[in-house]
């Protein structure tokens, strides 16, 4: 099929879709498709020619809205491209549209969007997971080939797990965040959401590498594609027993079956322990709240975004910020509270220390093996509205994904071959060792078919 035909069929499907996966459609998609098809025909196309991308709506695409699924940025047009977008376009990837998410990435269900919840394509009564809800939904439902999401505490891996697609969070500092709207700056990473491992490896190969617009990315660009076919004979995989505590039975059973498949592929399975998983959720949330409250200061209604005039400057800012949703406000308030003079000693300082403890423990565990394995989520996709009224309940959903962010490690969610609701199996590796994850994921993918 020619790219323009594919794009047209995607556009038709998107307009028919009831999943609420898209926020904006690229008006130039058809023109872009024609232009890229010409390059393909001439044999002069880039590495991503033929791929149709959806992009999470917290990543800047010049000339398109950048809403972060918030009323605050409902009409904000990005004046610039994110570095990842620039790199994708340079390799002839086509952007079909911007996808739905939890507002400012605050959520694990996809329900906090100002534009309404995204639905799970496997069961529209259930959530697709968050915050990169539209990324996972659009890929799983065949509304795009691949997607870019962002992951601060599991925002790529959680929806990948709930929607049955592959989601990868790279090592912190591998992919430029320039153009990714901040959630928690020391935890955020952009990563691919795909149907298979090799697509993820290809996208990762295009978007990684140093960028003078993001200080935290320093390494030179790597090519990951060649590692996908690498054998995993002798690769030591550590099963983290704590990761199975409190998991639904079906999840534990299927993940253990998945581990068995890797064993059959030649992996050496060992047991490891990461006891501090017990404090991962409070540690993550306190660190994230603090950074998030700082990141959200810029939304004052003065330079861009929603403005509601008040009686003076302060009042105008506060009134304009009423455009922010409940969960966003909750996190700003908590982040402000724990960093205020009187309370920071008790909360923020402790959270920073706890983060170091967890990082240390994860690195220690990875000294004993090449990869850590367990489930991505403790449960399968829950019903719409089931957890949204109870923030604590919602926060606890992140228990298995946040340690990777707190430690800056790469991690991926691999869709298991199951009937019924999708289940994700999670792999962690040492910093910079994404190739080990890709090889193991590809091995599972090949063997489970």
């Amino acid at each position: 099929m020619k790219l323009n035909e594919k794009v047209n069929s995607y556009l038709a499907n998107i307009s028919k879709s009831k999943l609420n996966a898209f926020i904006s459609i690229n008006k130039h998609a058809e023109n872009d498709a024609e232009r890229i098809q010409k390059k393909i025909d001439a044999g002069k196309a880039g590495r991503l020619a033929g791929y149709v991308f959806s992009i999470k709506d917290n990543i800047a695409v010049s000339g398109m809205r950048l809403t972060c699924a918030s009323k605050m940025l409902e009409n904000y047009i990005s004046p610039y491209d994110a570095t990842v977008v620039k790199r994708i376009i340079a390799e002839d990837g086509l952007i079909i549209g911007k996808v739905n998410m939890d507002e400012f990435a605050c959520g694990a269900s996809g329900e906090t969007s100002y534009f309404g919840p995204t639905l799970n394509p496997h069961d529209t009564g259930r959530v697709p997971g968050g915050s990169s809800a539209g990324s996972a939904t659009s890929v799983a439902a065949g509304l795009s080939d691949v997607s870019l999401g962002s992951d601060t505490g599991g925002s790529i891996r959680c929806p990948a797990s709930f929607c049955g697609v592959f989601g990868f969070k790279p090592t912190y500092g591998t992919v430029s965040r320039y153009g990714l709207v901040d959630m928690a700056m020391s935890l955020d990473q952009i990563g691919p959401v795909t149907k298979n491992v090799s697509d993820a490896a290809l996208i990762l190969s295009v978007i990684n590498g140093s960028d003078k617009m993001d200080n935290t990315v320093t390494g030179t660009q790597q090519d990951y594609t060649k590692f996908v076919k690498q054998k995993i004979t002798g690769v030591k995989i550590g099963v983290v027993e704590e990761f199975f505590e409190g998991c639904e039975h079906a999840i534990e059973k299927n993940v253990r079956d998945g581990i068995e498949i890797l064993k059959n592929e030649g992996a050496n399975i060992v047991k490891v322990s990461v006891p501090k998983t017990a404090i991962a959720v409070p540690t993550y949330y306190l660190n994230m709240f603090a950074e998030f409250s700082s990141a959200m200061q810029k939304f004052d209604g003065l330079k861009y975004g929603f403005r509601k005039d008040g009686k003076d400057i302060n009042d105008t800012v506060a009134e304009s910020r009423s455009a922010l949703g409940e969960e966003v406000k909750r996190r700003i308030l908590l982040g402000t509270y724990i960093t205020m003079k009187e309370f920071r000693g008790k909360w923020y300082s402790t959270a920073l220390k706890a983060r170091e403890t967890i990082r240390h423990e994860m690195i220690q565990a990875l000294k004993k093996c090449d990869l850590l394995i367990g489930p991505t989520m403790p449960f399968t996709a829950f019903k719409l509205g089931e957890k949204i009224k109870d923030p604590v309940e919602m926060y606890l959903a992140d228990i298995l994904t946040v340690s990777a962010n707190l430690s800056g490690l790469p991690a991926a969610s691999i869709p298991l071959n199951v009937s019924g609701l999708p289940i994700g199996m999670q792999l962690h590796a040492n910093a910079g060792e994404e190739v080990k994850i890709l090889a193991a994921a590809a091995a599972y993918e090949g063997a489970s078919k």
Partner: protein, 451 residues
């Protein structure tokens, strides 16, 4: 004034091409509003700071060394976010580094610390308009201990500091880039901070007003509130700020987008070697080498441009003569025209030639003065100026006087017999020949000597 304690916080823009965390130009003065801006310095969603401008960091290190600070070496220096929401601050926080130099000293004033930060944009508060061109320009902040005991003391020291910054040549040259916050307490009472004063003269005025105000409160047994005040230039008074800044909680936090700075010892050594001769040692050298008076030396070295020109002019004329002209007529003429020496475009060759003519007695002091006035406004070869103004070529004044005396025997005799008006007649004759370019006082002096 007993019990007065004044401390200063000085902000000055650093001389870099691009901003501190982005590649926008810093010469926003000539740009139309909101033109030198990008996603970074306007806090657009998703933007991140680029690498910290190395030249800005090196400039702060250089200044800190010149202020005899201990440089924080081999220990991470974090760039932190200082949170507050205001229209001139597009991100809702200002990026400011931890101390880069500490425990410095300049002219017996202890310097508490020196660090690097970014300038906010400009908020025209009466009109409610914001221009973000300035946003992100690198600034140095220098904080002194509260050791000044009077407003003139603070002003004099600021002038010394300004002269050092001039020498180091790493700060912006444009007028009005320096902004000063002054804090003041009387008899260990509450500290009052006066924000954003834009000139040394105003620092002195604002502080003097504050002392009077606080003394008055104390006399009436009222308490001096701990607060932030603003100086009103036109009314020459300070008034309380409506922003409750002392109560504000900035929630300082290391900026996660910027890894900490690590300053290496080798870098400090390298920068140390680039330090120019600073005013204090230059003045001492001038006294020793050129035998200048301490006062003249100090006066000349306060401007590095003047000091260099003085040394070059002194290669051709007597240094003491030159120094007297630098601190005397030259300065007077420049001040009168509201100009700086650098701004006048007068060359050292022109100045040397003029003083040489004076030294050789080819022109009178009066003629030299008149020529200098012209030269400051329209720099040119002094010979031409003198010619054009008709100040020459009457030769040596002594010769002219001798001629006049020879020609006017009667008047000489009249004078000698006590007729005072004869003397004025002789002065007039000399003036006529010199076309008014000779100094009448000098004519009188020379005439008296001869008669």
């Amino acid at each position: 004034m007993k019990g007065v304690k004044i401390g200063l916080e000085i902000h000055e823009q650093l001389d870099t091409e691009s901003k501190l965390f982005c590649s926008c130009p810093t010469d926003y003065r000539d740009a139309e509003p909101n033109k030198s801006i990008c996603p970074v310095c306007t806090g657009q969603p998703g933007s991140k700071p680029f690498g910290l401008n190395e030249k800005a960091l090196n400039a702060v290190i250089k200044i800190a060394i010149a202020l005899n600070c201990k440089i924080i070496v081999g220990k991470p220096v974090q760039v932190r976010r200082k949170h507050y929401i205001y229209p001139d601050l597009p991100s809702g926080y200002q990026r400011t580094s931890e101390s880069i130099g500490v425990e410095g000293e300049l002219n017996n004033v202890q310097i508490h610390e020196v660090h690097l930060e970014e300038d906010p944009g400009r908020f025209f508060l009466r009109e409610g308009l914001v221009d973000l061109n300035r946003s992100g320009t690198p600034l140095i902040e220098i904080t002194t201990d509260p050791v000044f005991d009077s407003p003139p003391h603070a002003r004099e020291w600021l002038e010394k500091l300004a002269s050092i910054l001039d020498y180091l040549n790493v700060t912006k040259k444009e007028e009005g880039t320096m902004r000063i916050d002054a804090n003041i307490s009387l008899n260990n009472g509450n500290k009052v901070e006066i924000k954003n004063i834009n000139s040394f003269r105003n620092v002195e005025k604002a502080l003097s007003f504050e002392i009077t105000r606080q003394e008055d409160l104390i006399r009436r047994n009222q308490t001096v509130e701990r607060e932030t005040r603003h100086f009103d230039e036109k009314m020459i008074l300070t008034s309380p700020s409506r922003k409750k800044e002392t109560e504000e909680d900035y929630r300082h936090m290391p900026d996660p987008d910027i890894p900490p700075l690590l300053i290496k010892k080798e870098l400090v050594e390298k920068i140390k070697k680039t330090l120019p001769e600073l005013p204090q040692s230059k003045a001492a050298r001038f006294v020793k080498l050129y035998k200048l008076s301490g006062q003249n030396a100090e006066n000349i070295v306060s401007d590095p441009y003047a000091a260099d020109m003085f040394e070059n002019v002194s290669k051709f004329v007597n240094p003491i003569l030159a120094s007297n002209w630098f601190v005397g007529q030259l300065k007077k003429t420049l001040n009168y025209n509201n100009m700086t020496l650098r701004g006048s475009k007068i060359t050292e060759k022109q100045l040397a030639a003029l003083l040489k003519m004076l030294e050789k007695g080819k022109i009178t002091e009066r003629a030299a003065e008149l020529a200098l006035r012209e030269m400051v406004l329209r720099p040119a070869d002094p010979k031409k100026i003198i010619e054009n103004l008709g100040l020459l070529e009457f030769g040596d004044l002594n010769t002219i006087i001798k001629e006049i005396l020879d020609k006017n025997e009667k008047a000489v005799n009249d004078y000698k017999t006590g007729r005072k008006e004869a003397f004025e007649y002789l002065v007039g004759q000399v003036m006529k020949i010199t076309k008014g370019s000779a100094d009448p006082e000098e004519i009188r002096r020379l005439l008296k000597r001869r008669l």
